[in-house]
């Protein structure tokens, strides 16, 4: 700090005395203002920062000690030299006690005044220098420590905490440009309310921080905004007395703003504070940018890793699917080919087996192949969003009774009990009868597949307010809760690999779900592992208006 940055306020109601001071100050080239009353003095102090005040203790309109105390309160770090009448030692002592730097007596001895004022100026310069050095060293140490912080939020939090401490401010915040919205948002703060943090979103040029961002100019403000033309139209937050905003610049790009504010009238920020914050901001901007890049990279790496895992899982599902398709196609073909070759080779005659039995095997396996192929085609149609529904009246009771006959027979093979519970009659609903039958067929096929002999399978039909609910309850192996959603996914099978218990391609529930959902219904499962499952689906009644 040099002398020409020192500013002095002369407070005396005698113009001759002020003239004398002025001459001395002009000689040593010091900037100053003059006040002749309590009122004026306070006005000046609130508008400007003064390093030194020369105060006549005997002003007409006030008690000098009161004004001295007020000056000390309002002007942080300011030194006051009091001027007392001849031989009024008492008031000089009182003034020193109240915080005055020194006193001189009237009549003024020009040499003594020069000496005192010069000494005070030197002291001010020195103490500012020391304070500045202390803060600079502190912030330098901080910058060094911060280079090791890789996490963006950690970095910003550390920044605001330390800046607030070093500049003795009430609040500190770091605002960064959101690249997606091009708006400034508070990313870290100390001393601000949640309401302010969450509601503040500034466009470039908007409000003070937006202006600083746009103009890239460090800005120091105190005591209202009226005297700053670019901010005069803004409504300042009433609790803020003084504030600094500096831009965060990386190369030529402004990435954000650092703000500090003080509520206390005695904590006026100075140009030195602003310069210090600007230096700190230029040091940390690059760190913030690096941390942001690091954060982005980390996110990309995580995404890559996740997609790699997904790809691997897809790859596994794909090869499992190919192997399953191969199994599901070749197995019935094996039976068909075998049966046909036996008949052709007239081997049956020697083995005493009827041709009919072999033809039955061939036909059943043809059906199995047909079902498999239509499931595959259905799943392709669903995936392409091209499954068409043939809407009409649907009698759920006739669907259930058809399937009941068919599955009672199959269930009998496995020694399963087959039961139905539901109302005697139920109104027709709107839907694709064949498709709805397919849903129930798939649920029943699964129930038989996964229930050991001796078990029970129950179809339940419920007539509810807005929909009907059809459920298939078995006493089979059950489904674990974490698989409730997965089993409805395409190709998902409860157990894959070589030793799977059940055949199939993992399409049945996927197809069932698509059909139910295309009818605006819901499908789901409730189950206890080892005890059994209930698969249910609902179909709405409300849209029974045939087009």
């Amino acid at each position: 700090m040099d002398k020409n940055k020192i500013k002095i306020l002369i407070v005396d109601d005698e113009s001759l005395i002020r003239e004398l001071y002025k001459r001395v100050l002009e000689k040593i080239n010091i900037d100053f203002d003059e006040a002749d009353s309590f009122e004026k003095t306070i006005q000046f102090i609130k508008l400007n920062y003064y390093n030194i005040v020369i105060l006549d203790l005997k002003l007409a309109d006030t008690d000098g000690i009161t004004l001295l105390k007020e000056i000390k309160r309002l002007c942080f770090g300011c030194e006051v030299i009091v001027v007392t009448g001849y031989a009024s030692l008492d008031s000089s002592v009182a003034a020193i006690r109240a915080g005055a730097y020194d006193y001189i007596t009237k009549p003024i001895d020009v040499d003594e005044f020069s000496l005192t004022i010069n000494r005070c100026i030197d002291k001010q310069i020195l103490s500012k220098e020391v304070g500045r050095l202390k803060s600079t060293v502190g912030l330098y140490e901080l910058s060094k420590a911060m280079t090791s912080i890789m996490d963006l939020q950690d970095l910003l939090n550390t920044m605001v905490r330390i800046v607030k401490q070093t500049l003795v401010s009430d609040t500190c915040s770091v605002m960064l440009m959101d690249e997606a919205t091009s708006k400034l948002k508070i990313m870290a703060s100390d001393g601000l309310s949640d309401e302010v943090i969450n509601s503040t979103e500034l466009k470039v040029g908007e409000s003070i921080a937006g202006w600083v961002l746009k103009e890239q100019k460090p800005t120091l403000l105190f005591n209202g905004l009226k005297k700053y033309p670019q901010f005069a139209h803004l409504n300042p937050r009433p609790e803020i007395y003084s504030a600094i905003s500096v831009p965060l610049i990386v190369k030529d790009k402004v990435i954000g703003v650092v703000n500090v504010s003080s509520k206390d009238e005695s904590r006026n920020f100075t140009t030195e504070d602003m310069e210090l914050l600007a230096i700190f901001a230029s040091d940390t901007a690059l760190m913030i940018e690096n941390a942001r890049i690091h954060e982005k990279l980390t996110k990309y790496i995580k995404m890559l890793e996740e997609s790699q895992i997904k790809m691997k899982e897809l790859d596994r599902l794909k090869s499992e699917f190919i192997s399953n398709v191969s199994h599901e196609l070749r197995t019935p073909l094996t039976a068909i080919k075998g049966a046909v070759e036996l008949i052709m080779g007239e081997i049956i005659s020697t083995a005493g087996v009827t041709v009919e039995k072999l033809l039955n095997i061939a036909r059943n396996n043809c059906d199995r192949l047909t079902n498999l192929i239509s499931d595959l085609l259905d799943s392709v149609r669903i995936e392409a969003g091209k499954m068409e529904l043939n809407m009409g009246k649907v009698s759920l009771q006739s669907i259930i009774s058809e399937l009941n006959d068919e599955f009672k027979f199959l269930a009998g093979h496995k020694n399963l009990t087959f039961a139905y519970s539901g109302p005697k009659s139920i109104e027709d609903i709107k839907g694709d009868s064949e498709r709805i039958k397919q849903v129930l067929n798939n649920l029943l096929t699964n129930a038989i597949k996964f229930t050991a002999s001796g078990g029970t399978i129950t179809i339940t039909l419920e007539d509810r307010n807005n929909d009907v609910r059809i459920s298939v309850t078995d006493t089979g192996v059950g489904v674990s809760p974490e698989s409730y959603d997965k089993i409805f996914e395409r190709f998902h099978q409860v157990d894959g690999g070589l030793t799977r218990q059940a055949g199939g391609l993992g399409l049945g529930l996927f197809i069932a779900k698509s059909i139910v959902e295309s009818h605006d219904g819901k499908i789901g499962v409730e189950s206890t592992l080892g005890k059994g499952s209930t698969f249910f689906f609902t179909l709405p009644k409300h849209n029974f208006v045939l087009k």
């Binding site: 070749r330 197995t331 094996t334 039976a335 070759e341 036996l342 081997i347 070589l498 030793t499």
Partner: protein, 128 residues
């Protein structure tokens, strides 16, 4: 004495067809529906040859084959893997677990009978 052939498959239709085919040529046929049952039947029935499916519940065919080939009492039993798995990696895997032969489904009935016959004659020769 009739040679004993153990057929192992979880598909009932396949078992029916294999039984008719093999009995027509005078083999004694035993059957098992999964890998675990197969290992039990091997102990009690002491088959000369096993037609072994790969994809089965409880224990897969590769594992069953490895067990057979690693036991002193059973390692001389001929094993034909009879499976839908037709990729070269599967065949490689079959060889690695010690199978004597690898046939993919659907198989040719008469070719299968031929292969069984050849394998059993070879076994007889080497014994003599």
């Amino acid at each position: 004495m009739k040679p004993i052939v153990l057929i192992v498959d979880d598909e009932l239709d396949t078992l029916i067809i294999l039984r008719i085919l093999l009995e027509s040529k005078g083999y004694d046929v035993e059957e098992a529906h999964n890998g675990v049952e197969a290992l039990e039947k091997i102990k009690t029935k002491k088959p000369d040859l096993i037609l072994l499916d790969v994809m089965m519940p409880e224990m897969d065919g590769y594992t069953v084959c490895r067990k057979i080939k690693s036991e002193k009492d059973t390692k001389n039993i001929a094993v034909i893997l009879l499976t839908v798995r037709a990729l070269s990696v599967d065949i490689e895997k079959g060889k690695k677990c010690g199978a004597d032969f690898y046939i993919t489904k659907p198989f040719d009935s008469y070719a299968l009978l031929n292969d069984i016959h050849k394998i059993l004659s070879k076994k007889k020769l080497s014994k003599a």
